[in-house]
Symmetry: C2
Subunit: 432 residues, 2 copies
């Protein structure tokens, strides 16, 4: 190894941490040629130094004491792949306080405390990069910050959670039930034992908050994101969607009209002709619409040891290059625009609505009249027999305000002729 | 406008040049906030200063004399959107000689003389960026240079020519003939009056040479690229392809096995399940496979005034940021690996072959025996009646060497029982 090298402290030695070590070891020569500096792993913070590891050559570097990384002045960069808020946040802030650069894959932390961390970095002249926090192996944050630096982004849509995309893809391909596919995904390791964060959309919401902050340059917060998960998506919904030309995806939406912004994560009917509709399995994709560039999409693995580690090490390369050039701390532009959130009357979408009604003469007329009274016009309507003298009505609306749609549903819940509101989904399209 | 600004000289005021001016004018504030410097267009080089322009406010800046840009010491950046080799090359070299940074959209120039230009830039400590030269609005060069800096790219496949993709998509969607669709594309302005550069694959070959140079870090030359265009693709080929589960795309392929590389552009049968198969119309897409990251794909507009201009201005933002930080001339890593090209016996692909034979007993046996003798095994075979006592044989092979396939075709051309070799295409797949 060259004498000239930069020392890094790795926090966390699980899946992603192991991948980071593997890539640094395998590509030492290439990295050296690109950056002019070797990258040396100086210390690895673990919870249990005695646990057996995939890479035993690193055993001498393991420590359970964060001070061995944070208080070592030779360590210039901290790579944080522990995950979760605490103690990752405290470690990262302590590292920045001591002038160390940070690369992290921590979406929870960046979604919740990104502003605090970026401000501390700016104050200390340090780099903080977090490409791996959104859509694993897809270099989407760089694209937003640099590739589209001259454009104004109006809309981002993301399939940014592999677990839910795997489940919905399987349900669609096999006509299977949610609960069966979830069990299968858990058995395969694609879903966790407690799947709430994934299936209820919280994980995707964190990533959308990060994307919206970077893409719109406003300080989005996690609580600004409307979230609905996939646990109530039925195979019937998927089948009806297909019949009408849609695939159901858990879609993150970040949309700007003028200066007003909305961000949501919800199961969405995506037209089959849309490039997002054919993103299947654990793959992720982020669709970006810019005023000048028009439609673009970035597709790739959303997770996994090596894809995620690739994003971490690419960030590390940027830190090392910056260090060599003496320009650390200038990478990420802090959000500088005022955050103006749409209210529900400004959130316009098409909707898919499926209800069960008493099968009596005039029911369809009553329902459609109600919608018309609430400013909602229909693009498609199907009525068909259900069971026990009931009928099922499936409707796709034209662009409608979320507030109007919520009003209609609240009203329908009180109507005698409506026995069940089976489902209501946003339908992608019609807004461009 | 701020007093602190950077002056640029624009060379060329056609479609892309107009887009560049529009974006700089519209986004002046955003650009200023990102870079800390205003961007001022100081001079525009045109062929005819009297011609009427879309943007008349720029009339006072027009000149037909390149020296007014090149010899003006206040102009720090040249944006070249003239296109073609001469005089663009001389202007760019002269600009670099005088210490000016360069942003160009010129794929012809970068494919043919990229090394010379990058070396001159390195010598003079200047930036040269050319994101717009490949796949217009898709920030693919940044992704290769930065996003995957820690990975080893093994395969890139690109739909990088919008004209041919439009033609093939239309032929596929409408079952139309090549010549009819070409005429329509010409009428719509998607194809030029002389379409040779597009339809014979030369334009795509230039882009693949640029991608392979960056992705594999070896100095690829245009003549290293095997090129075959789409003018002989028939609607029958497309129909047979569909029947077997493929779409025909003009696909650029850059593939590395160990250290040996192959780069080609040719009509290729792409499995319908592959994300590239559903890239239609004038859209472009580049698929990148990295050892660590796995499969990724970047999709977007390949051309057009504003998409291309977005890429140019994003490069310009990078130049201005670098200028502010005092780190120009370090952006692009010059190719540092030795170029080792595969010979045809090392180029392994599946092939689709369609031939017309005399319809006699034993003909199929003769053909399949010939293939077996030449080391080619078959995955699929269809024989069906043609006309006048002839039969048509359609075959898809397993992975086979290009040299073996070329040998088989040369041999078949001499066989009495083979009356016509209708078509032979590479089939994507089977190599990973």
């Amino acid at each position: 190894m060259e004498k000239q090298s930069i020392k890094l402290g790795l926090m966390g030695f699980g899946t992603v941490g192991t991948g980071v070590v593997r890539i640094i070891q395998a590509h030492q020569d290439d990295l050296q040629k690109q950056t002019g500096l070797g990258i040396e792993i100086a210390k690895i913070l673990v919870q249990d130094a005695e646990k057996s590891r995939h890479i035993s050559s690193m055993n001498s570097l393991l420590t359970t004491d964060p001070a061995e990384l944070l208080d070592n002045p030779d360590i210039e960069v901290i790579v944080e792949v522990i995950g979760g808020i605490h103690p990752a946040k405290e470690y990262i802030l302590a590292a920045l306080e001591r002038g160390k650069h940070v690369v992290t894959a921590n979406k929870d932390l960046m979604a919740l405390h990104g502003a605090e961390i970026l401000n501390k970095a700016q104050e200390k002249g340090c780099d903080v990069f977090y490409e791996a926090s959104v859509a694993g192996g897809i270099p989407i944050l760089r694209a937003l910050v640099e590739g589209f630096s001259s454009d104004r982004i109006t809309k981002m849509m993301g399939i940014v959670n592999g677990t839910t995309n795997y489940i919905l893809s399987k349900m669609s391909q096999e006509g299977a039930d949610y609960s069966d596919v979830l069990k299968e995904a858990q058995a395969l390791g694609y879903a966790e034992a407690n799947p709430t964060s994934d299936v209820e959309g919280f994980d995707a919401a964190r990533k959308m908050a990060i994307l919206a902050t970077l893409g719109f340059r406003v300080p989005m917060k996690l609580e600004d994101v409307d979230v609905k998960g996939i646990s109530s998506v039925s195979k019937e919904d998927i089948a009806y969607g297909k019949q009408l030309g849609y695939e159901i995806k858990l879609l993150g939406l970040a949309r700007r009209d003028g200066e007003a912004i909305e961000v949501s994560v919800q199961p969405t009917m995506v037209p089959k002709s849309h490039p997002l509709a054919s993103v299947n399995g654990v793959f992720n994709a982020v669709y970006v619409h810019g005023e000048a560039v028009g439609e673009t999409m970035f597709y790739g693995p959303g997770a996994g040891e090596l894809p995620t580690a690739t994003a971490v090490v690419s960030d590390l390369v940027t830190v090392v290059k910056n260090r060599k050039l003496g320009v650390n701390g200038r990478g990420m532009v802090a959000p500088y625009k005022e955050k103006i959130l749409k209210d529900d009357s400004e959130k316009l979408s098409k909707y898919f609505l499926r209800i069960v009604v008493t099968d009596k003469r005039g029911v369809l007329a009553q329902i459609t009249q109600l919608l018309a009274d609430k400013n909602i016009s229909l693009e498609q309507v199907i009525q068909q027999p259900y069971n026990n003298g009931e009928a099922e009505i499936i409707m796709v609306t034209h662009l409608s305000a979320k507030s109007d749609m919520d009003g209609v549903i609240a009203y329908m819940e009180q109507m005698d002729i409506v026995s069940k509101i089976e489902s209501c989904y946003r339908v992608e399209g019609g807004d461009k």
